[in-house]
């Protein structure tokens, strides 16, 4: 099998490499790929959308429709992970172990015993193993997380002028929550940012994107043609495009953040939403 795979792979690779002789050279500015459409975007992008970052203008305006589905892909992946993994009740039941936080004593609740409240700060639920408290990591993360989040907001808002945008910002936001979940534990993260919030926020994010498109449609222009939003936003057509891009980027950020967090919740706990990794 391995040998066969190797032969197949080498043959395919050889075929592909063999053909590259006809390809344009690396960095060739006169290749068809670099002269036809891209020239239009570079030359007209800023005038059309008032966004100096042409990647952003192509992403969210010229090919905004692709990007809507890109967001949808993330949304679908989040839904898929939830759908595949999430289980409310584990067959056979699990031992209930709690740590009494002030004393650090670990308690095991017998079957039928009285359970502490789910959001109790005194008793914290543990899973099967003893987990040591990592004070330095926890406190470091607690300090870093707000900065990550502020930077994330900057990345989202500044997507017009520098590399960045909804995806990158959304992932940063998600990273902040994931960092919290890793440094503390998953249960606490879920208490801050619940599963339901993630699900609804994901829907909301894509809804902002698709809804903006649909709003354009209601205003009489084509789907996602932000120009139609000009009367609503009180600006001219080009600025409306610029604002439109920002709106959908925010939607993307919402969706990506919520979904990445949700995927992490489900993957890290195999759908049980317990203590996690």
């Amino acid at each position: 099998m391995r040998l066969l795979a190797l032969i197949a792979v080498i043959l395919t690779g050889g075929l592909i490499i063999f053909q590259t002789g006809a390809f344009p050279d690396f960095g060739d500015a006169n290749a068809p790929a670099n002269t036809y459409l891209s020239t239009y975007y570079l030359e007209h992008g800023q005038a059309d959308t008032h966004a100096p970052n042409i990647v952003t203008s192509v992403l969210a305006d010229y090919r905004g429709y692709d990007t809507m589905f890109e967001t949808t892909v993330v949304f679908a992946a989040g839904l898929a992970c939830f759908f595949l993994l999430r289980r409310k009740k584990v067959p056979g039941g699990e031992p209930r172990i709690y740590r009494h936080m002030p004393t650090g004593i670990t308690l095991r609740i017998a079957d039928g015993g009285k359970l502490p409240a789910e959001d109790s700060e005194v008793f914290r639920r543990l899973d099967t193993e003893f987990v040591p408290q990592q004070l330095i990591i926890k406190n470091t993360c607690r300090i870093v997380i707000p900065f990550i989040q502020i930077f994330a907001l900057y990345v989202i808002a500044h997507g017009h002028y520098s590399p960045g945008g909804g995806f990158q910002g959304g992932v940063l936001l998600a990273a902040s929550i994931i960092l919290y979940a890793i440094s503390h534990d998953l249960r606490r993260a879920i208490r801050r940012f619940s599963e339901k919030t993630a699900a609804l926020m994901g829907s909301l994010g894509v809804l902002i994107y698709a809804g903006t498109g649909a709003l354009c449609l209601l205003m009489g222009a084509n789907f996602l043609n932000y120009k139609a939003l000009a009367p609503l936003l009180g600006v001219d057509a080009v600025m409306a495009r610029s604002h439109g891009i920002l709106i959908v980027e925010i939607g993307v950020a919402f969706a990506v953040m919520a979904m990445i967090i949700w995927i992490y919740y489900n993957l890290s706990s195999a759908g049980k939403h317990d203590e996690g990794l």
Partner: protein, 496 residues
């Protein structure tokens, strides 16, 4: 508003998927009605589009208002308008039929399931209606990703099958993406019509030819053309019944549509069929697919597995017919996309109803089924006749064009394979009819009036099944109209 139909066709399932997903967390009872309403709406829009196309010709819709090739365009023409209607009709019928299954299997996660269902559908609809080569890739991934999830929560080996499907699907989609990259290198554009307009000047370009091969190879993996079919039987037969009826009829067919679309309106027939060697080789692969699919189907002892191998053979029909490269072949392949979607739907709906009542679809459990579930079996019989290719069911007509194409092209192996597969299908299905009709054997010499007791599947399953079965006959009777008023207009000039 009719002007915006091409966009609405996608937006309606997409937005409703979002709302259904949110509803899953708020009030689960609303999910199912919302999904049905959304699909009905989308179906109505697709019918509206079909009538528009038939009345006024192809429609182009500029997403975000940018003209091609700068922006993304949607094009509804004679080729995809009927396929859109079929896709949405299949999805709607299956959704209604799957109601009881969904409530049983996914009661907790109904919002997520239905949202994935609708997203899958918006992916499929998008693939069929887009006029942009890269946009097709994005939608392909939407369709695939949701498909993996819809399959993954099934019976027995479903997660493993789904994971294997994911590997193969990703390889296929990535090859397609690579092919698009090659096209982009050669032409600098992604718009299908724009690419087609440049093809004549680049007829000798080896880059483009490699792009054609790679794109097609990717699609072949995704449509499970033999011998890349390994993932399909496991994935489809282990899928939950509610998903099998959606994915089995649509995925492979939509991939074949993508092949036709790419071959006809991106690479243009002159270029696609210019290298005789390639076409001939693919036809031979298709012949192998037909024969292997039929033989493997013979070896199965479970209804749903048998059907999945029939799908493998049917993929061979369409691929072979298309790559014969003559008018009858392309017509037959396109017509068969529509017919096969309807046939597969009917078969899988019947299997789903049978599994619902019996808890199994093994051959030995099907005894006396004609007495127990006469309506389900009636639908099954009609679908079986369509698959065998008995007039006036629709399967006969597409097969007719395909065989004609084989004769015209002098490709006798293909003709022989089609006839062989018809006969094998007849054996396959009559074996089941015999089990369901004769066993358990009548005691004595037919002097008893108490056959198996009547116990039919719920109405929500039977009615869509019967509707689908009737549509098979209707599609057959109107296949002349479908061909002359739609498909023949969709075939560009330059095909012999």
């Amino acid at each position: 508003m009719t002007h915006h139909f091409p966009a609405l066709l996608i937006i309606v399932p997409l937005l409703s998927a979002l709302i259904v997903s949110a509803m899953g967390w708020i009030n689960r009872r609303w999910c199912f009605p919302l999904a049905v309403a959304a699909l009905s709406g989308a179906l109505a829009i697709s019918v509206g589009l079909l009538t528009q196309v038939m009345a006024t010709g192809p429609i182009a819709y500029k997403m975000a208002g940018w003209s091609p090739p700068i922006g993304i365009t949607y094009v509804i023409d004679y080729l995809n308008a009927p396929i859109l209607v079929v896709i949405l009709a299949v999805a709607l019928l299956n959704l209604i039929a799957a109601k009881t299954w969904i409530e049983k299997d996914f009661s907790e996660k109904i919002g997520a399931y239905l949202a994935l269902y609708l997203l899958f559908l918006s992916g499929m609809v998008g693939i069929v209606s887009t006029g942009d080569a890269f946009n097709l890739y994005v939608l392909l991934e939407i369709g695939s990703l949701t498909g993996y999830a819809l399959i993954g929560l099934g019976k027995e080996r479903a997660p493993l099958s789904s994971l294997n499907y994911l590997f193969m699907g990703t390889i296929g989609a990535s090859f397609y993406l690579l092919g698009i990259g090659y096209i982009y290198i050669a032409t600098g554009t992604l718009n299908m019509a724009d690419i087609a307009s440049m093809i004549p000047q680049l007829a000798e370009s080896s880059t483009l030819f490699l792009a054609l091969i790679i794109c097609m190879a990717g699609l072949f993996v995704k449509m499970a053309l033999f011998p890349m079919h390994g993932w399909l039987p496991n994935a489809y037969s282990n899928a939950p019944s509610a998903s099998a009826g959606l994915i089995a009829p649509l995925t492979t067919k939509v991939m074949i549509y993508a092949m036709v679309r790419l071959g006809l309106t991106v690479f243009t027939p002159q270029f696609t069929f210019s290298r005789g060697m390639l076409s001939e080789a693919i036809v031979w692969v298709a012949v192998a697919a037909i024969i292997a699919g039929s033989l493997l189907a013979l070896m199965q002892r479970r209804l749903s597995r048998m059907l999945t191998y029939i799908i493998v053979a049917e993929v061979g029909y369409m691929v072979g017919g298309f790559w014969l490269g003559n008018e009858a072949g392309v017509t037959g392949a396109t017509l068969h996309i529509i017919n096969d979607a309807a046939m597969t739907l009917t078969l899988f709906l019947a299997v789903s109803a049978i599994t619902w009542k019996l808890g199994s679809d093994k051959f030995e459990d099907l005894q006396g089924l004609f007495g127990k579930m006469p309506f389900t079996m009636m639908g099954f019989v009609i679908a079986a006749l369509a698959v065998i290719g008995i007039p006036p069911t629709c399967g006969f007509f597409s097969k007719w064009y395909l065989i004609t194409a084989g004769i015209n092209a002098g490709q006798w192996a293909f003709v022989g394979a089609l006839l062989f597969s018809s006969l094998t299908n007849a054996v396959l299905f009559f074996r089941i009819f015999e089990i369901a009709f004769f066993e358990p054997f009548a005691t004595g010499h037919g002097h008893h009036d108490h056959g198996p007791t009547f116990s039919e599947a719920p109405l929500t399953m039977v009615v869509p099944l019967i509707v689908a079965a009737i549509s098979l006959i209707a599609l057959g009777l109107y296949s002349g109209d479908i061909v002359t008023k739609l498909i023949q207009l969709a075939i560009p000039a330059g095909i012999a």
